[in-house]
């Protein structure tokens, strides 16, 4: 075998494998384009002012919308933010600042465990913790379930971000006579804040797309609701109910509601990306 043909063979393998990887890349594109194309093309037709502002109508009646579901999602995600973000961010700061001992390692390990809990299991827990004692389904129970889902990811990302802040900043601040706690708050965390907000936005985007834990915590509601003690509609549960129904007009509504959900999640992701970019630009 001459050196030349062996090299040709190796080159061919190289080209072939590169080509295969490119094919795989295209393959991954197919479902993405399929989903996005279908949601947009099937869902856009149903977009109207009425869709956003009206309540759902009973089967067989024309019109109606997901106004209450949209408000319900925003409401429960809001509750989740209030209940979960301070705890998540705080725990992340704790792990970054004080988390090097055995207790810190335990907390870190437990946060890792929590991040792997399937959302349906969190739903069971929220049912036992909130729905049973309260005696009925509620937006609060849904919000608590979402909060439990948000805490671990926010904590871990916050810890990483705070640790990334250069040690020299802390040393400089301490050298100037600033007490440790003020250094942590006003110097270290302030620097990491942009990243922390990004992490929170991404956690919110994920919470907005959750369905399983809401099914038996917040149940559903045909009407407008901003009472945390009452059951609440949500965008994701609405999509699910419309999708598994046999009615064609409800199927159309499922696509339109999916479009709305994708827009909401998309906006949150874009906002977090924008913040990252401006933070990197403005970093000193």
């Amino acid at each position: 075998m001459s050196l030349h043909s062996s090299f040709t063979y190796r080159k061919a393998v190289d080209r072939g494998m590169a080509g295969l990887c490119a094919v795989f890349f295209a393959l991954a594109f197919v479902p993405l384009i399929s989903v996005l194309w279908l949601v947009i093309s099937k869902g856009a037709a149903g977009l109207s002012w009425g869709f956003f502002t009206q309540l759902p109508k009973p089967v067989g009646e024309e019109g109606g919308g997901i106004g209450n579901a949209l408000i319900g999602t925003l409401f429960m995600v809001g509750i989740a933010c209030v209940a979960g973000l301070p705890l998540g961010v705080g725990a992340g700061i704790y792990l970054a600042e004080k988390g090097d001992g055995t207790f810190g390692s335990t907390v870190r390990f437990v946060a890792e465990v929590l991040s792997g809990v399937p959302s349906i299991v969190v739903g069971i827990v929220a049912y036992a913790l909130v729905v049973k004692p309260m005696g009925h389904f509620s937006a609060l129970a849904g919000g608590v379930a979402l909060a439990i889902l948000m805490i671990p990811t926010v904590a871990r990302t916050t810890e990483e971000l705070v640790r990334l802040v250069p040690g020299s900043l802390r040393e400089a601040s301490l050298a100037l006579g600033v007490p440790n706690w003020k250094t942590s708050l006003r110097v270290i965390i302030r620097t990491a804040m942009g990243g922390i907000v990004t992490a929170c936005l991404l956690a919110v985007a994920r919470a907005a797309g959750e369905t399983a834990p809401l099914i038996f915590t917040a149940l559903n509601n045909q009407y407008w609701n901003v009472d945390p003690r009452a059951p609440t509609a949500s965008l994701t549960v609405a999509i699910y109910n419309y999708a598994i129904s046999p009615y064609d007009d409800w199927h159309a509504k499922a696509w339109t509601a999916s479009l709305v959900l994708l827009i909401v999640v998309g906006l949150l992701n874009i906002a977090s990306r924008y913040l990252t970019r401006s933070r990197l630009k403005g970093a000193r």
Partner: protein, 326 residues
């Protein structure tokens, strides 16, 4: 930045004496510690509640009996986890088989074969895939993938490979195959992004050494990148598997909701999260609820082990020593 610190310093000199033991530090540290404890409390509440809810099950069923029985009988309150374990296993295995080769190929393309600037852009579609909510995948699966399977793929598979028990039975679209396919799409972003991270940590020196010795790009990958990142890629696969196990909505919309064990991929089945989602709101007897919570505990334990294992592998690669050959 220096200005801000300077202001703080002036404040500090006027207000507090710096150093351990001052009130500010104690309050701050105390609050942080309390937040750390809260995380433990939340985790404890989860495990405790699951165990409490599952307790009535233990009165009539042994652990081994529960795991190995395939009877799901709410009328007589006899429950077995086997059909759901089977369904979860089959759909997850299917999704790994379909997604991992594509994911590794994709990760290699992004990190090795594409120009560096393009590589950053190429991660955008992957992130988009990850951001799509589960119920939207379920909707897409129900109205696009299931009919496609029922009308094109399953008949074709039945005609050409019908001698295998895997591809026997009437093509109904819904079932293990549909769930596995949609799960593959859903876990792809997870496996890709972790693999990309891991591959990026391969020391450039290793790759350049291989190239300097006359290797083609592909050979450099096989010699330098893959052996180094092998453990990390395994970690990525485990993370993807963990995600597949816990996925609820998309699976419950296309798997057929039938607690039966069947050799055929065309058959309808059930998964652990799907049965909990469908039956929890209406399980009346404490034993039924306990059985569902028991399934939740099994799910929790499995995903925990997978995630712990994955984390160990991924961090080991990111911190460990480098080797050229494996």
């Amino acid at each position: 930045m220096a200005e801000a610190a300077g202001n703080l310093a002036v404040e500090a000199a006027e207000e507090n004496r710096p150093g351990p033991g001052n009130v500010g530090d104690r309050v701050f540290n105390g609050t942080l510690w309390a937040l750390g404890v809260m995380v433990l409390v939340v985790a404890g509440l989860i495990v405790l509640n699951l165990a409490l809810v599952a307790r009535p099950l233990a009165k009539e069923h042994s652990l081994w009996g529960f795991i190995t029985s395939s009877e799901w009988n709410p009328v007589d309150d006899r429950y077995g986890a086997l059909p759901f374990l089977y369904g979860t296993l089959v759909t997850s295995a299917l999704s790994i088989l379909m997604a991992v080769p594509v994911a590794i190929g994709l990760a290699l393309f992004i990190t090795q074969f594409a120009p560096a600037k393009l590589g950053r852009v190429l991660t955008i579609p992957v992130e988009l895939l990850a951001a799509i909510p589960s119920v939207v995948y379920g909707l897409w699966g129900l109205f696009i993938v299931v009919p496609w399977l029922r009308e094109s793929i399953q008949p074709w598979l039945g005609r050409h490979f019908g001698f295998l028990p895997l591809f026997q039975g009437p093509p109904i679209g819904l079932g293990f195959l549909a769930a596995g396919a949609i799960l593959a799409v859903m876990i792809l972003p997870t496996v890709v992004s972790v693999s990309v991270e891991v591959m990026k940590t391969t020391p450039e020196a290793n790759r350049e050494a291989a190239l300097a010795l006359g290797a083609t790009k592909w050979e450099a990958v096989m010699l330098a990148v893959i052996p180094y990142s092998r453990a990390g890629i395994l970690g990525a696969v485990l993370l993807g598997l963990g995600r597949a196990l816990g996925e609820t909505m998309a699976v419950t919309m296309v798997i057929g909701n039938s607690p039966r064990i069947s050799a055929s991929l065309f058959a309808a089945g059930y998964s652990l999260p799907a049965v909990i989602a469908n039956e929890f709101a209406e399980a009346v007897s404490d034993v039924h609820i306990g059985a569902l919570a028991g399934l939740g505990l099994i799910l929790f334990a499995t995903t925990f082990l997978l995630n712990a294992g994955a984390r160990i592998l991924v961090t080991a690669v990111q911190k460990g020593p480098s080797r050229i050959s494996g």
